[in-house]
C-alpha cells in the first residue's frame, strides 16, 4: 500500500469530520473575503444595514473558527486511531521473519508518532486548499477594486517565492543535524540506564551524567545555528513583505487621489493584501504536509508487509504428529535451514540437538508456525499449517522459551495470557508442575502481584514461562532451552513433573545438556542447517561428530567408556 493511497484513505475515512472541516473552511474563507468589502461599505455609507452585515459576518467567522478547531482535532484523533488499529493488527499477524525486519522501538514510533503525523493530513490538506482559495480571492478582490493593485502584486510575487524556497532548504539541513545530535544524546542515556545496576555499584552516577551530557555543547551549537538562520530569515521576510505592502498602499492611495476608489475601499485594500499573500505564509503547513507524507510512508511500509499464508480449514482433532518437508529458511543472505525433512510421531519426545548456529531455534519456530519457511511445508496430523485457520494452529502448539516475555497485568494474568484464558485451577496446577508455585506464593500479593513491580531471576522467569505453556491443551509443546537458568536439581524436578503432566503430548525439546538428549525418545541432530541424524541418542553416540556437539572432551571419553 503506497503512502499516497494511505493518505487518501485517511482523508476519505475522515468521513463527516472531513466533510465538515471542508464546509467550515469554506465558510471561513467566504466570510473572510466578504469582510473587508462589508467593512468598507459600512465605513463609506455608515448605514445600519451595512453594520448588521459586518456583525453577522463576524459572528459566522467566529462560529466557523470554533467548529474548525474541534473538527480538526477530532479528525486527527480518529484518523490516528484508525491507522493505529490497522497497523497493530497487521503487526500482530506478522510471522517472526517479518517482525525481525523492524526493531521494537521503530515499530512503537511508527504506531504512535507516524500515525498521528499522517493523520494531520486532513487538516493540512483542507487548510492548504483554504489558503489557496483565500489568496486567489484576495487577488481577484484587489483587481476588482483597482487593476493596478493586481499588477503590482503579481510583479513582486516571484521574490517572495524564491525566498520561501531558500528558507526551507536552510532550516531542513540544520534541523537534520540538530536531530542527529539529539539522537546521540538519547542513545548515551539509554546505554547508561541499561547499566544502572553497575553504575550504582561503582558509584559513578555523576560521571555517567557527564558522559551523557558531553554532547550538549554540540547540541547547543546546532541550536544557535538554527536561530542564526531564523534571524536572517526574519530579517529578509520583514523587509520583503512590508515593501510590497507599502507599494500596494501607494497604488491604492493614488487611486483614491484620482477618486477611483473610496476611503472604505482603501481600507479594504489593506485587508485583501493580507489575504492575497496568505498562500506564502503556508511554510508551516507545507512542512506539515511533508511530515504527514513521510509518516504515511512509514505506516504504509508496515501495512505493506506480507502476512504468513493461512487458510480457512479448521484443524481436525488428532494425536499431534508433526511433519516437516523440505524446510528451507534464508536470513540476511545465508541459508539457516536447508531442506530439512522431519517426522515426529504423535506422543513422542524428540530432542533437537546441534552446535551453535546449526538452526535449532529456527527449526523450532518453523515447526510451530511462528516462522513461515521460504520453502517447504509443515503439517500437523496430516494437515498443512498454511491451509489451516491461524487460531487453530496457535491453539494446537504451545511454546516455552529460554527468555519468555511476560505480558498482562498480574502474575496470574501473565501465565494465563491467551485469547481464551484458563480457569483458576488449571492455572494453579500449571504453576505447580513448573515448580513456580512456591515463589509465586511468596510474592507480596501472590499470583495477583502486578507484573510491573516484579523483579524475577532468570530461573523464576523461565518457570513462569513453562507454566504458561503447560496449562494449554496443546497437542504439541516446544521447549526452546526453557530451563537453562534453572538449577540442575529443580530442573530434574520439573522434567519429572512435566513427564507426568504431558504424557500423551508430542514434545520437541531443544537443549544443550547431554542428559536431555539421553532422555528423549529420538534425537534430531542438526548440523549447519541440515538434518544429520534422526535416531535414539545411544545410537547417535557412535558418531564422533555427534559426540563433538557436547564438547571435545566428551568425544574422547565416550570413545573409551
Amino acid at each position: 500500500m503506497g503512502s499516497h493511497r494511505l493518505l487518501l484513505g485517511t482523508l476519505r475515512s475522515a468521513g463527516w469530520y472531513g466533510t465538515g472541516l471542508a464546509l467550515v473552511a469554506l465558510v471561513e474563507v467566504s466570510t473572510a473575503l466578504a469582510l473587508p468589502m462589508a467593512v468598507a461599505t459600512a465605513v463609506d455609507t455608515l448605514t445600519g444595514s451595512a453594520m448588521v452585515v459586518v456583525a453577522v459576518l463576524l459572528a459566522a467567522a467566529t462560529v466557523a473558527e470554533m467548529a474548525g478547531v474541534v473538527l480538526e482535532k477530532r479528525a486527527e484523533a480518529h484518523g490516528a486511531l484508525r491507522l493505529r488499529r490497522s497497523l497493530l493488527s497487521r503487526v500482530l499477524g506478522f510471522d517472526l521473519g517479518t517482525a525481525r525486519r523492524f526493531t521494537t522501538g521503530d515499530l512503537v514510533s511508527r504506531t504512535l508518532q507516524s500515525t498521528t503525523a499522517a493523520a494531520t493530513v486532513t487538516m493540512t490538506a483542507v487548510s492548504l486548499y483554504a489558503s489557496l482559495l483565500t489568496s486567489v480571492g484576495g487577488v481577484i478582490a484587489l483587481v476588482l477594486i483597482d487593476v493596478w493593485l493586481g499588477v503590482v502584486l503579481l510583479a513582486l510575487v516571484p521574490a517572495v517565492f524564491l525566498f520561501s524556497g531558500w528558507l526551507t532548504r536552510q532550516l531542513s539541513a540544520n534541523t537534520e543535524r540538530y536531530q542527529g545530535v539529539f539522537a546521540d544524546l538519547l542513545a548515551r542515556l539509554e546505554d547508561s540506564l541499561r547499566g544502572a545496576r553497575t553504575i550504582r555499584a561503582s558509584g559513578t552516577v555523576e560521571r555517567e551524567t557527564d558522559r551523557v551530557l558531553a554532547v550538549l555543547p554540540r547540541l547547543s551549537a546546532e541550536g544557535r545555528e538554527f536561530w542564526r538562520v531564523q534571524e536572517k530569515a526574519i530579517w529578509r521576510a520583514n523587509l520583503v513583505m512590508p515593501l510590497l505592502q507599502v507599494a500596494v498602499l501607494a497604488v491604492a492611495g493614488h487611486a483614491a487621489l484620482l477618486g477611483r476608489i473610496t476611503p472604505g475601499e482603501f481600507l479594504a485594500v489593506q485587508g485583501y493584501f493580507g489575504f492575497a499573500t496568505e498562500v506564502f505564509r503556508q511554510n508551516v503547513m507545507l512542512a506539515r504536509l511533508a511530515r504527514a507524507q513521510g509518516s504515511a510512508e512509514r505506516v504504509a511500509e508496515v501495512l505493506g508487509q506480507p502476512l504468513p499464508p493461512s487458510g480457512p480449514a479448521p484443524l481436525a482433532p488428532g494425536p499431534g504428529s508433526l511433519s516437516l518437508r523440505g524446510i528451507r529458511v534464508d536470513r540476511d543472505g545465508h541459508r539457516v535451514l536447508d531442506g530439512v525433512d522431519l517426522d515426529i510421531p504423535a506422543g513422542s519426545t524428540v530432542a533437537l540437538v546441534g552446535p551453535s548456529g546449526s538452526g535449532k531455534s529456527t527449526l523450532a519456530e518453523v515447526a510451530g508456525g511462528l516462522l513461515h519457511p521460504d520453502s517447504g511445508a509443515v503439517s500437523v496430523d496430516g494437515q498443512r499449517l498454511d491451509e489451516l485457520r491461524r487460531e487453530d494452529v496457535r491453539g494446537a502448539i504451545a511454546y516455552a522459551f529460554e527468555r519468555p516475555h511476560l505480558l498482562g497485568e498480574t502474575v496470574a494474568d501473565a501465565v494465563g495470557y491467551a485469547d481464551q484464558p484458563p480457569p483458576r485451577d488449571r492455572l494453579v496446577a500449571a504453576l505447580r508442575t513448573s515448580r513456580a508455585e512456591d515463589f509465586v506464593n511468596r510474592l507480596p500479593k501472590g499470583s495477583r502481584t502486578p507484573l510491573a513491580r516484579l523483579r524475577l531471576s532468570g530461573g523464576e522467569l523461565q518457570r513462569l514461562g513453562l507454566a504458561r505453556a503447560v496449562w494449554r491443551e496443546a497437542r504439541i509443546v516446544v521447549f526452546d532451552d526453557a530451563t537453562s537458568s534453572v538449577d540442575t536439581a529443580t530442573e530434574a524436578d520439573i522434567t519429572a513433573a512435566l513427564g507426568r503432566a504431558l504424557t500423551t503430548r508430542t514434545r520437541l525439546v531443544l537443549a544443550h545438556r547431554l542428559g536431555t538428549a539421553a532422555q528423549a525418545d529420538i534425537v534430531a541432530w542438526l548440523d549447519r542447517g541440515r538434518l544429520r541424524g534422526f535416531a535414539p541418542h545411544h545410537e547417535l553416540l557412535r558418531e564422533p561428530d555427534y559426540r563433538a556437539v557436547f564438547g571435545a572432551h566428551t568425544a574422547e571419553l565416550a570413545g573409551t567408556a
Binding site: 453594520m51 474541534v70 545496576r197 489593506q270 546449526s358 531443544l510 547431554l514
Partner: protein, 582 residues
Amino acid sequence: MPIAWTLLRPVVVEHRRVLVAVVAWSGLAALPVLLSGRLVALALDRGFLAGRGDLGLLALGCYGIALVVAAFGTRRAVRSMGGFTEAVRDHLVRSVVRGELHAAVNGKEPPAPGVAARIVNQVEAARQITANLVMSVTSAALMVVAAVVGLCAMAPAVIVGLAPLVVVCSFVLAALSRTWRRRYEAALTREEDLAADVGEVLEGLRDVAACAATNRALADLDRRARAHTTASVAVADLGGIRIGVIGLAARAPLVLLLALAPSLLAGGALSTGELVGAVVYLASGLEPAWRAVAEMLGNQGVELTTLLARLARASRTTEGVDHDGMPARPGDLVLRDATFRYGPHSEPVLDNANLVIRQGERVAVIGASGIGKSTLATVLSGLETPENGTVELGGVALASLRTTSLRSSIALVPQESYVFAGTFRENLTYLAPTADDAALEHTVAEVGLAELLHRHGGYDALVRPHELSLGERQLLVIARVHLSPAAVVVLDEATCHLDPVAEERAERALHRRGGTLVVVAHRISSALRAPRVLVLDRDGLVSGSHDRLARCSPTYAHLVGHWMSTSDASRIYERSTGRSRT
C-alpha cells in the same frame, strides 16, 4: 506553576539581561502598529483625499521606514531570544538527564528506557514553546499595547466601551484554562500508558503468537488507544470553546467602533481618515495581536507549565544517597546477624545470617535459583542495607563508610554487563581512571582480552556495545574490575556468557590479582574451583569445604549430586562447554 517555575528560575535569573533585551527589541517591533492607524489617517485626510498625493506618499513612506526599523528590532530580539532558549534547553537537558540517571541508579523500580527517552523528547517540545512564548508573546503583547495606545488617541470611546468585555473574557478564559490543563494532562498520561503497552506487546510479539493471544493483545491495546483518543478529543472540544471566546473578544471592538462611528463623525470627534485609521488599529493591530497573546498564553503557556512540571519531577535527584564517613580499609568482610527482606510482607532472604569472608579469600556462592544469591551479593556490597544486623569491612560497618570509598573498595559485577559507546580505554579504565598503559597491558594479558582488542583496533577504537557478543561484553567488564583498585570483587553470575575455558581464565586472573573474590556461581564447575563454598537455602547460610558440605548440607548434595549423576559425560560437558547459548 510553582514546581515548573523552580526548574526555570536559575536560567531566568542568569539571563535576565537577555530577557530585558528581548523585550526592548520587541518594543521596536511594535512601532509600526503604534503608527499604522495614525499614518493611514494622515495619508488619507491630508494626502490622497485632500488632493495632495505627495503628502500621502510621504506618510506611507514613514510607515515603510517604521516597518524596516521593526524588522531590525525583531532581528535583534530573535538573536537574544535564541540565546535564552538554548540556555533553557541546556539547563533542562542537564537536569532531566541527571534526574533520570539518579532515579534509575538509586531507585527501587527497574528503569523503563522508553519512558526516559520520551521525557528527554519533552525537553525539545519545551524548548520550542519557550522560544515561541518569549519571542511572540512579548512582541504580541507590546502590539496590543501599541494598538490600544493608538486607538486611545483617536477614538477613546471604543476603549471605554471595551473594558467590561475584556474583563469578562479574561475570567472565562482563566476558568477554561484550568479545565483545559486538567484534560491536557490526562491526555498526556493516556498517551504514556498507550506507549508503554504498545512497547510491551511489540517486544513480546513472539510470545503473543506462541500464547495464541493475538486477540487478547489487540483488545488490550485497542482499549488503551481508544482511551487516548477520547482524552485528546476532550482537549479539542475545550480548545474550540476557548477559540470562540478569544474570537469574540477580538472581533467585538470592530462592531462597537462601526456602531459608534456615525455619532463620532457627526460630532467631529473623528475624521473619515481617522475612522479608517481606527479600523486599521483594530483589524490589523489589535485583533491578530490579541489572538496571539490569548492563544499562546492559553495553549502554549499551559502546555509549557505542564511539560515543565513533568520535567521538574523527572529532574528530582534523590538527595542524601551519598554520605560522608570513614574511609574504607581492606580487611575481612563480615555478615553479623543480618536479616534482609524486600518488603514487609515477604519472607526474609537472609534471616540472622552470620558469615566471615577473610581478606584475600576466594569463595563461591551456590543455591537453588530464586533463593536470594543476587540479594546476598547486593547486601555484601553495601548496596542494600539489612534491616537488622550489620555488614562490616575491616571491622567497620559498611553503613558508616564514606560512600565513594565504599564503592571503590567493593566492586559488584552483575550478570548484565555495562559497556558504553566510548573507546576501549574509557571502558577499561572506568573504575581506575588513572591506570597507565603498563597496567592496562597486564590486565589485558591476564584476562585474555588481547584477541578481542586486536580485532577491534586497539585501546582507542570505539566500542559499539551492540556489536559485541554477551560473552565479549562480560570479558570487557571482568578486565575493568581486574584493573580497578577494589579490595573486594563480587561476581554475580558475571561470567555466565563466557565459555568454561574463558570463565576459568577470568576467575583465575581475578584471584591472582589479589584481594577478596566472591563468586555467585552459575555453574557447579565454577563453584568446584573455589576452596570454600557458601550454600544458601531456606535454612540459611552454610559454608565450608566441598567435603564438609557434601557431608552436612543436603542442598549442596542435591545441587552437586544432580549435576554429577546425570552422567559422567555430562559432567565433562558442563566443564568443557557449559550452557553457552546457541
